[in-house]
Amino acid sequence: MVSDPVIVRPGGHTPPVSIRLQDRPAEERPAERTAALDQVFRIEHLSAWYGTAQALRDITLDVPRNRVTAIIGPSGCGKSTLIRCLNRMNDLIPSFRQEGRILYHGDDVCGPGSDAVALRRHIGMVFQKPNPFPKSIFDNVAFGPRVNGYSGDLKALVEGALRRAALWDEVKDKLGTSGLALSGGQQQRLCIARALAVEPDALLMDEPCSALDPIATYRIEELITSLAVDYSIVIVTHNMQQASRVSDYTTFLLSGEERIGELVEFGPTRDLFTTPKDERTESYITGRFG
């Protein structure tokens, strides 16, 4: 097959990211943009509603770049809502409304001139249930590059993405078979490969292992750790062990009586799990509720 896989994205450089319809050259960016590059996302006073029901209240959080940030919390605390704000997937829900700001490399993701399609092209997403397209493995991975106008060697790009997702060896001889013929764990890695193929900058994972068995879960976790070198990863999980295994930073969300998610604590994962500052965090991680 293809001998020389392209490296999907070399890590460590300032990503050429623009969420505007027209890409601006880097030198035109204001100076404070570079200062803000330590965070991939800066969430400022974010509140969100579905219709009249509030789901999130006043979340303020900096998501560090090239690190794994876990969002934990009991069911219904707004973890998924929060992560779906980051790539504007909530736009699809007509009744959804949000206040506050989310900056992605300094750009307001909902600001004027920012385009959801351009934004999502830089922020990959992996969903709770593996959702490969009912097409061949190759076409699953190649779809993103195709619509985004990739003009290089598509085969090499697909191979590179599948290698990064640790799936290449299992599928290299059957790229033409349906993505749905794979096992659940393989499907989820295919979805990760599909997200990597558009050379994103950040990766959002919404409980990526909740539909998988322990062995498949272990492989995905391994993969997340290896990807964190090059990508900024945000992972929602209700599995605290998973958060402590894979993440560098952890955010703990909790919803009170009125079912509105609030940020309780954010910090380096080790600190949050060993010396939580808030007693609600301590109760949660020691399993007293949730």
Binding site: M89, V117, R120, R121, H122, F127, N131, P134, V147, A181
Partner: protein
């Protein structure tokens, strides 16, 4: 066994025999219901075949209607039906599918959307003669298409449009939203998502709907009675604006004649109509199965 558990058992009456007898009775009822439909269809088909098959011949297919039953044929009617269904396919299916895509993929839910939706549902239930009157007023008179093939085709296209829309909507709704999310999350636009993922996944369902719509279109006589010049047509339509007749009308004319001979060739024409219908449906099924294979569920 302790006294307590004996007491507990006494409170249960499983009545296994009665329950399984009820089950069998229900099954029998279902069999009977199915049989009523199948048998009456068989009787109808057999009756038509017995009356109609003897007159079927190449001459019957290639002759025009005549004053004499023995010399009559269905050529103009069969060709008219074929052309009519082509017009319906070309007009109603793109319109209907595009409408369904708009309603399912783009339109925001709201009062306006609900009104449109309700009215499409109502239109599907409007008696076909009403569509004939509409066609007569709009296409034949107002647009002065006269009693032409085009006027008839457009009328029938309008008639099946709600059916096409409703079926296409069902098919689109059955496409899991996870597919759309996956595509959008990769930076595809809404249009690319619809074109590359939603339509291919929904196509088998959409085509099933078109089969139903086409069957309806081919069998309709009532609206065309108003639009076509019923007088017998002993030529083939030359263009869209030519006058025409269709099989259901030809059958209607022959059945209403007093002579027994004409009743017999009416049965033959029914067989031709059925054959035409099955052929068109077979094509649609073929296309559907091919599109199923290209989507690798």
């Amino acid at each position: 066994m302790s006294a307590a558990s004996v007491g507990a058992l006494a409170r249960w009456r499983p009545r296994l025999q009665t329950r399984s007898r009820n089950g069998r009775a229900f099954l029998l009822l279902c069999y009977a219901a199915t049989a009523v439909g199948i048998l009456s269809l068989l009787v109808l088909l057999a009756d038509t075949a017995i009356k109609g098959v003897p007159q079927l011949s190449w001459d019957f297919l290639t002759s025009y209607p005549s004053r004499f039953a023995a010399r009559s044929g269905v050529l103009s009617a069969a060709v008219g039906t074929l052309y009519l269904s082509l017009i319906v396919i070309v007009v109603a299916f793109p319109l209907g599918i595009a409408t369904a895509i708009y309603l399912e993929e783009y339109a925001r839910p709201g009062p306006l959307n609900r009104i449109v939706q309700t009215n499409i549902g109502n239109l599907a239930g409007v008696p076909s003669i009403i569509y004939g009157m509409l066609g007569l007023a709009v296409f034949v008179r107002a647009m002065s298409l006269q009693r032409s093939l085009l006027a008839g085709g457009l009328t029938i296209a309008l008639l099946v449009l709600p059916i096409v829309i409703i079926n296409a909507q069902e098919a689109l709704r059955a496409v899991p939203s996870s597919l759309r999310h996956a595509s959008l999350a990769l930076g595809a636009t809404r249009w690319e998502t619809v074109w590359h993922h939603v339509i291919p996944a929904a196509l088998p369902g959409i085509l099933t709907g078109t089969i139903l719509a086409l069957s309806r279109a081919i069998g309709e006589a009532a609206p065309i009675i108003l639009i076509s010049s019923i007088a017998f047509i002993a030529f083939l339509p030359d263009g869209l604006l030519d006058s025409f007749t269709i099989l259901p009308i030809q059958i209607f004319i022959w059945v209403s004649k007093p002579q027994e001979d004409f009743h017999a060739i009416a049965a033959s024409a029914i067989i031709v109509l059925l054959a035409l219908l099955l052929t068109l449906n077979a094509v649609a099924i073929f296309v559907r199965d091919r599109s199923r294979r290209s989507t690798q569920w």
